[in-house]
């Protein structure tokens, strides 16, 4: 059963990654990142059960907290960028280049 | 009294002071005073120096101070001077006040072709910082400390060229920096390798002498050090940064660059390449001597073809550095002492040339030879001093450079006959490049734009005067300098395990017959 969970986790992670790479709306990109984090959490929880200790769950817990913080800051940044540029597209924020 | 640390501390403190005072004029005066204080201190130190002690291993470096710096790696703050280092420190501290006085208006942006005005205080502060580093690099007896100074010297010079130089200053500054860094990093590798392979747990130079025995290791480490020094010196074919840097730098910085900074290269060859890796040095001697002789002739020929005075002088220096390298690697007392003395004399003679050229450019706003002509008529003192400086550039007897060039050639002739003969033709070429330049700038009908150029003023005479006095004094009476240098050179050569060529008829016969 563990294998199944892990494969599901990998699949969700990959889908999230593809989303990050293909979507331009910063908010959607953010959601995809969250998806990837969730996929990781699934793997952690699975491993916790696999190894019979709770450390995996603790880590998943921490991941959730950090993800929450990240979302707060990330979304604040998105709002700020949107306010000045009237755009939430990650492609528009491309000044930092060569 | 920690003489050497004091010598370094005074200009550093002075530099801070210079950058803090309010007015530019005060800053200049303060800088001059500080540099004169250093000069006086050095003079006192030189009188307390005992050349006779240089023969013994323990007392070789006098005024020695050793403190742990990074104990984990055996890095020390170790300073001390022998005769060679002392004369080079003397060269530096004599040149700095002269350069300060000569650069009085260089940063003001008042010259005929001056770059835009920059911070005057910074320029003089940089000069003082540079002075401290020059003293440090010659005084360092810890290889790592030497490396630190060797690289750190680049920083003030980089800014002096890059901020206060001519039209192409940033190109020249970057070229200078990259070249030097390239050599310096090779040397860093060699320094670290030396530390690791020697397994002495220390970077102190006296303890590293004669430790590396394996010939192959010696060769690699030698190359690491040598390339750094060859770039610094600069030896052909690592020389192309020098004409750009010297031509773009303000005259004062050019003097310190060519007069002192580049000497670190030849000084390093004499001190580190020879003593740390004697077998490798002997192995590579044919190569180095070939490069040196090529440099002598090549530098002279290219100098003849220059149209820009400062570049011309820079190329003559390349030729002169060939002589110095030849003297260092001939490994005879005469050649070694001659090469050391050459470093000092070249500092004065090229310094005078650069400074007077700087005065000329300050007036006329061009460094092109073609823009001048007949200056002698309107500014006889300027022309006269220029001629004396130029004649010292072509090693006229009676001027200091002759003594050193003669000793170098004499000493190398003892061991290497044919290369020395080729090198001696440089004497003829020197006459061509100096006198041709003098003829085109100072002689002939006075050019229209030159008419009305003022002659040297009092300040400028105070700049040139001491240099010319030194050049002539050392030209007729070099003994004081040579007495300091000779024991140190002998000590160096004894560490190389090479004996002087016995100039007895029996030995010399074959050489003479080989002609």
């Amino acid at each position: 059963m563990t294998t199944h969970y892990l494969v599901l986790s990998a699949l969700l992670f990959a889908i999230g990654a593809i989303g990050v790479l293909t979507r331009r709306n910063a908010i959607v990109v953010f959601m995809c990142v969250e998806l990837m984090l969730n996929a990781c959490n699934l793997a952690f929880v699975t491993f916790a059960r696999q190894h019979g200790n709770l450390d995996g769950q603790i880590i998943a817990f921490f991941v959730m907290v950090v993800a929450a913080a990240e979302v707060v800051i990330g979304l604040a940044i998105i709002v700020m960028i949107f306010r000045t540029r009237r755009s939430a597209s990650v492609d528009d924020a491309n000044l930092l280049k060569y | 009294m920690p003489w050497l640390s004091t010598l370094m501390a005074v200009p550093v403190v002075g530099a801070v002071g210079v950058s803090l005072v309010k007015s530019d004029k005060l800053a200049k005066q303060l800088a001059l005073v500080v540099s004169l204080v250093v000069l006086v201190l050095t003079a006192v130190m030189a009188f307390r120096f005992d050349p006779a002690l240089g023969a013994a291993k323990e007392t070789r470096f006098q005024f020695a101070e050793v403190y742990d710096w990074i104990p984990a790696f055996g890095v020390h703050y170790g300073v001390g001077v022998d005769g060679i280092a002392l004369v080079l420190i003397a060269l530096s501290v004599i040149l700095v006040p002269i350069v300060i006085l000569a650069s009085w208006h260089d940063a003001d942006g008042t010259g005929a072709a001056a770059p835009p005005r920059r911070s005057v205080k910074t320029y003089f502060a940089l000069l003082l910082v540079l002075e401290a580093m020059m003293i440090g690099v010659f005084a360092a007896t810890d290889v790592f400390l030497f490396y630190v100074f060797f690289e750190a010297m680049l920083i003030p010079m980089y800014f002096m060229i890059g901020s206060y130089g001519g039209a192409q200053r940033s190109y020249a500054a970057v070229k200078f920096l990259l070249y030097s860094l390239f050599g310096g990093l090779l040397m860093l590798v060699a320094v670290i390798a030396l530390y690791v392979i020697a397994e002495k747990g220390t970077f102190m130079f006296p303890e590293l002498v004669g430790v590396i025995q394996d010939p192959t290791t010696q060769k690699w480490l030698f190359l690491g050090f040598f390339i750094a020094f060859a770039v610094k010196a600069p030896l052909w074919p690592f020389h192309t940064w020098l004409p750009d840097a010297a031509a773009q730098a303000p005259a004062g910085a050019a003097v310190l660059l060519v007069g002192v900074l580049d000497k670190v290269g030849t000084y390093g060859m004499l001190r580190f390449c020879l003593e740390l890796f004697p077998d490798a040095a002997k192995f590579f001697t044919p190569l180095v001597i070939t490069l040196a002789v090529i440099g002598i002739i090549y530098g002279a020929i290219v100098a003849i073809g220059q149209t820009d005075m400062k570049r011309l002088i820079a190329y003559t220096s390349i030729s002169h550095f060939g002589f110095i390298a030849l003297g260092v690697f001939a490994m005879t007392t005469n050649a070694g002492a001659g090469a050391t003395l050459y470093m000092v004399n070249h500092g004065f003679s090229t310094g005078a040339l650069f400074l007077i050229t700087g005065f000329l450019i300050y007036r006329r706003g061009s460094s092109q030879i073609a823009d001048y002509g007949g200056v002698q008529k309107v500014a006889p003192v300027l022309a006269g001093t220029f001629l004396v400086a130029g004649l010292s550039g072509l090693s006229l007897p009676g001027l200091s450079t002759f003594v050193s060039e003669f000793m170098v050639l004499l000493g190398s002739y003892e061991r290497y006959v044919v290369p020395t003969i080729i090198a001696t033709t440089g004497v003829i070429l020197a006459a061509v490049y100096i006198l041709w330049m003098y003829q085109r700038t100072m002689n002939g009908p006075t050019a229209e734009k030159v008419k009305g150029l003022p002659d040297l003023d009092a300040r400028e005479r105070w700049v040139v005067g001491p240099l010319i006095v030194l050049i002539i004094a050392l030209g007729f009476f070099p003994k004081p300098a040579l007495d300091m240098i000779n024991p140190a050179v002998d000590h160096t050569l004894s560490n190389v395990h090479i004996s002087n060529v016995h100039v007895t008829p029996a030995v010399a016969e074959k050489k003479g017959a080989g002609q």
Binding site: V90, A93 | G398, L435, G444, N486, V503, A508, G512
Partner: protein, 633 residues
């Protein structure tokens, strides 16, 4: 054969302070150069005083020497350590050097005095005297030094002073070029001298005359030959001998007293001095000696031929100087007898050539600085003192019986004849040509029709110029006989250069002597028909190939130009190009390549976060793949 006396230290009397001879003019030069315009008013007087003082010291030293036993006349005066272990500064006062010192300071002082008048209108007269003093000082250092390094310092000092003097009117481009040329050609000679000194050092372990000459006979033949040839190269440069003769004619750009000083009394004789001084080497190396004589003969002929075709009076005299120095060089290659004649000829030549140069200067002074003899003619009547003294000098140089040149030049010719018939006869031919070109000069200048430019008002020069002429002409008359008759000079020089067992006796009617006289007479007569009796055209006719050849200085400059100057210019251009495009091109090319590559690589930084993310994902994939691969291994 009597060998030279031993050199012994000596520090009493005037000899002990003989360094004053060098120091006084040097001090004068220093004061005048540093003093600047403030010394303008009395500068020339100071120069003369210093030179005269030096002369007085020389005379006193000479007198002191005469009071000594001949075996003790080589006196060394130690001054100070110069380069420890290599060379000291010290003086060697012996008959040879004191003869030179007397000549230099004596004739030099006369030229100083003469210059007061000659340069009176020049605003830079003070500077001129400073250079003259410098010149005298350097020349004295050259001849008085007791080692080769000291000699070399004086040697180059002379070169410097001649550079400054030839280029004294530096605002004239031709003068500036001539000065530079003189210095550079001299440097070629110096190169030989330097290598010679190096070889002496490596061979004998010393550069002091004392040790070197004592050891010289023991050294290997090849080494000695090499040393001899190298020293000869040096001598050729300074004495304007073939192949380094080309600077001398150009050097006439300097003021006339300079020409007199350089080409009569001092600089050009330095080469002869060097060869004679180094006699110990040459005597032990016959090959080198032979080369010396060949060079001497070739130069005396070349100089004479050049002299025949010059219309410029100073250049004509310069050609004659070349030729006379050739005689001396020939003599210097003939051993002790030759040395004595060579030095004697050098001294008498110093007088009569200075006499004629200064006379020429006097003529030019009267003729608005005109130098072209085709625009002279008939000057005898307007400047009698100049003309008579000049003619005395002329008679002396062509070897008119019983005048100075007669004794000294014939001595050289006869000695040469004993050594080598071919060289001897060539020298005789040279004497004949001398008779021609010197007569030509006299006839064109002082006799015949007046061909003056309009506005020329020739007049006799002031006394300050004529008195030296008279003194010099007296020397030109009597000095030769005084020195040669009874082998007086040879005996005097003996402690310095040695003495042969069999002394030459003077034969007034030897075959070579008579042949010389006959040829000189023929030459003079030919000159009379061409230039005395016949009309001299004011514009030089085209002339034969030979004339052109002589006018162009035997194509010496053309040869130098083709062999050295053009290839040199070409090489310089090539080297500069190579430096800019080759070495620097390589460096800059490397820099440009790195810059270009990074410029292209930079484009990868598009600014699109998603691109970066993509590469991160690729990286992650690679890491995972690598882990898998490693784990499966």
């Amino acid at each position: 054969m009597q060998s030279p006396a031993e050199i012994v230290p000596h520090s009493t009397g005037v000899v002990g302070v003989s360094w004053l001879m060098i120091a006084l003019p040097l001090l004068g030069a220093a004061i005048l150069l540093l003093g600047g315009r403030r010394t303008d008013r009395w500068g020339h007087l100071l120069g003369v005083v210093m030179s005269l003082a030096s002369f007085v010291v020389a005379v006193l030293a000479f007198v002191q020497m005469l009071g000594l036993d001949p075996g003790k006349r080589r006196m060394a005066v130690e001054l100070y350590q110069f380069i420890p272990g290599v060379a000291n500064i010290g003086l060697l006062i012996d008959p040879l050097s004191i003869s030179f010192a007397l000549l230099i300071t004596g004739v030099g002082s006369l030229i100083h005095i003469y210059s007061i008048g000659y340069m009176s209108h020049d605003p830079d007269r003070r500077r001129f005297f400073a250079y003259l003093n410098l010149f005298v000082s350097a020349m004295l250092l050259l001849v008085l030094s007791d080692n080769y390094v000291g000699l070399f310092i004086g040697w180059e000092g002379v070169g410097l002073a001649s550079y400054l003097l030839i280029g004294f009117w530096q605002f004239k481009p031709s003068a500036a070029v001539a000065a530079k040329k003189a210095f550079i050609v001299n440097r070629v000679g110096d190169f030989g001298l330097l290598i010679g000194i190096f070889t002496i050092w490596t061979t004998f372990g010393s550069v002091a005359f004392k040790e070197v000459f004592e050891a010289a006979p023991g050294a290997q033949q090849n080494t000695l030959t090499a040393i001899g040839l190298l020293l000869l190269l040096g001598a050729c440069g300074k004495s304007a001998q073939l192949p380094l003769q080309s600077w001398l004619l150009d050097a006439m750009e300097g003021p006339t007293p300079v020409s007199a000083l350089i080409h009569a009394a001092t600089m050009v004789t330095a080469g002869v001095y060097l060869v004679v001084r180094s006699g110990a080497f040459f005597e032990a190396a016959p090959t080198a000696q032979l080369v010396v004589t060949i060079v001497g003969v070739a130069t005396l002929l070349a100089g004479a031929i050049i002299g025949c075709a010059k219309d410029d009076i100073k250049k004509g005299l310069a050609g004659s100087t070349m030729s006379q120095i050739g005689y001396m060089m020939l003599g210097a290659g003939l051993g002790p007898v030759g040395y004595a004649f060579a030095i004697a000829h050098l001294i008498t030549h110093g007088f009569f050539k200075a006499n004629m140069f200064l006379g020429a200067g006097s003529v030019m002074h009267g003729m608005n600085d005109e130098v072209n003899m085709r625009k002279y003619g008939g000057l005898f009547s307007v400047m009698k003192v100049t003309a008579i003294t000049f003619i005395i000098g002329y008679l002396a140089i062509i070897g008119f019986p019983l005048l100075s040149g007669y004794f000294t030049k014939d001595g050289i010719i006869e000695t040469a004849m004993e050594h080598n018939q071919i060289l001897g006869w060539l020298a005789v031919v040279g004497a004949g040509i001398t008779g021609f070109y010197m007569s030509r000069m006299v006839f064109m200048t002082f006799f015949g029709k007046r061909r003056w430019e309009d506005g020329a008002h020739p007049h006799e020069s002031p006394a300050v110029m004529t008195v030296p002429l008279i003194i010099l002409s007296i020397g030109s008359i009597f000095l030769g006989g005084f020195l040669i008759l009874g082998n007086r000079f040879m005996q005097f020089l003996a402690p310095a250069v040695g003495l042969p067992e069999e002394l030459p006796s003077f034969h007034p009617f030897s075959v070579p002597g008579l042949a010389t006289l006959a040829l000189v007479a023929v030459g003079a007569a030919f000159a009379w028909f061409r230039y005395g009796a016949a009309e001299v055209p004011r514009v030089a006719p085209r002339g034969s190939f030979l004339t052109t050849f002589a006018r162009r200085d035997l194509y010496g400059d053309a040869l130098n130009e083709a062999l050295f100057m053009r290839p040199g210019q070409w090489l310089t251009r090539l080297a500069v190009f190579f430096d800019n495009r080759g070495i620097d091109g390589l460096v800059n090319g490397l820099a440009a390549a790195i810059g270009g590559t990074s410029g292209r690589l930079r484009r990868v930084q598009t600014g699109y976060v998603r691109s970066y993310a993509l590469s991160i994902l690729f990286g992650a994939a690679v890491v995972v793949g690598a882990l898998l691969y490693v784990g499966n291994m």
